[in-house]
Amino acid sequence: MPIFAPVGHMFLTFLALVGRVTVFAGRTIGHMVTPPIYFRLIFKQMREIGYYSLPVVAMTTLFAGMVLALQSYSGFSRFSAESAVATVVVISMTRELGPVLAGLMVAGRVGAAIAAEIGTMRVTEQIDALVTLSTNPFKYLVVPRVIAGLVTLPVLVLIGDIIGVLGGYLVGVNKLGFNDGSYIRNTFQYLEQLDVISGLVKAAVFGFIITLMGCYHGYNSRGGAQGVGQATTNAVVSSSILILISNYVVTELFFTR
């Protein structure tokens, strides 16, 4: 049947891609635990990935928190549950919106930049030059970015959580008429450690995915400027999809008894 051939081809291509990404991830993890480790490059990447992403994550989570307060107030007022707004905002931000929004924003900003930079290095033979200069490209290019992603995303998300809750507080107190003391009390009354920890674990997973996919697509880019552009697109799309899939998996691991 002619219809099955392209479907089968696509499925086999997908499986081959999964295999290549898995091998790439395995090599990366192997190099992460064996010397030499380029700490200088890790700190540099932490600045690039973490510090420079702070404004975009702060803006995103601030407005997400504000909108969440407005929406939940409007919805909960239908059954006189307005007092739950602060709790909904803090739990939604820490468990879901903080990590997912920060992850998607960083995927767009950092994943694309990593793929473009490493892709350009590939097509201009800079990666080959690294090899001839006795330097392992995995250790020099991939490992610092992945470690920086793993470490900085949770910090970014923690800051984003606080800013998101602050956004909800500002709207709740200044626009919706909540008493500031009771809003803060409601915010922390039902918040559990697990809410925050699960979000931070998600952030670490997302940081790994974003940097790994950026490095993978950049490292394997071919064909000049067009290939680098394709690598950039693939890095953002694949990391965004994987973020949403892994978000479900981690949520199920934490909250399904």
């Binding site: 033979e125 800079q126 030059a129 090899v131 001839t132 200069l133 006795s134």
Partner: protein
């Protein structure tokens, strides 16, 4: 010759899918000898070089450097080989994120563990060897002209005093005068180091100037190999057509009717 060769290739094959690029390359480079591999575009010159450097893995055959087999070599053997080589890439392949001196000193700092201050002094000395002053040391590679980038690439290749130098199309993309400057620098640096050199080029003027011996690659095999002084008198129609740059001749060109 293979017992004393610095680099020796025997029956090297390499293909990409159905396309067989190398189909049994045999070539030796003696210690201190400079060999140029010439040939048209797509004949496998770059693939040959990348196979020797370990950037590509041949499908079959043998490549030895100082008698050590490189195909299937351990990481330690590969690292030992790379530690005594320097490479000038076609587009220089300078690291955009580093300054000029950091590029030149890269192999000294990352490969040999030298302190940056000492490596910087050595890098500036190497820049002087290729005719560049210390004023370029702190510039970004992107702010240099193509010829200057090639010279920085050459300075980087010779920074670690390698025993073997590889040059990939050293004069491509630059004007003839700067090309001649690069050729002179290659000859000077190679002689001063006493290094063996393998150059791939389609520029016959460059091959005549920098090589002791020339090998012509065609359809995945070396079809002529001899001293540079014998090129013009060689009884090989393929070589003569390539040297003369004629369209008519036995070389199958990848051209439609013009």
């Amino acid at each position: 010759m293979s017992t004393t060769a610095k680099i020796s290739l025997r029956n090297v094959h390499k293909g990409f899918g159905p396309k067989k690029v190398l189909q049994g390359v045999d070539l030796d480079v003696a210690p201190g000898e400079s060999v140029a591999i010439i040939g048209g575009s797509g004949t496998g010159k770059s693939v040959t070089l990348k196979c020797v450097l370990g950037l590509l893995t041949p499908d079959e055959g043998s490549i030895t450097v100082d008698g050590t087999e490189m195909i299937g070599a351990t990481h330690a053997d590969r690292d030992a080989m790379l530690a005594k080589t320097g490479m000038l890439f076609q587009g220089a392949a300078l690291f955009d994120s580093l300054t000029v001196w950091e590029n030149v000193a890269f192999g000294l700092i990352e490969g040999q563990g030298m302190k940056p201050a000492k490596a910087r002094d050595l890098a500036i000395a190497r820049l002087g060897d290729v005719g560049l002053g210390s004023e370029v040391a702190n510039l970004s590679p992107a702010s240099l002209s193509g010829g200057m980038q090639k010279r920085v690439g050459l300075a980087r290749a010779i920074a670690t005093d390698p025993e073997i130098l590889f040059f990939d199309e050293p004069t491509t993309g630059i004007d003839p005068i700067m090309g001649d400057v690069i050729n002179d620098l290659i000859v000077k640096c190679t002689r001063e180091l006493g290094a063996s050199a393998m150059t791939i080029t389609h520029d016959m003027a460059s091959a005549r100037k920098i090589a002791d011996r020339v090998a012509m690659l065609y359809q995945g095999k070396i079809i002529w190999d001899g001293p540079v002084s014998e090129i013009d008198d060689a009884d090989n129609p393929y070589l003569q057509q390539f040297v003369a740059g004629d369209i008519e001749g036995p070389l199958e060109l990848d051209l439609k009717h013009l």
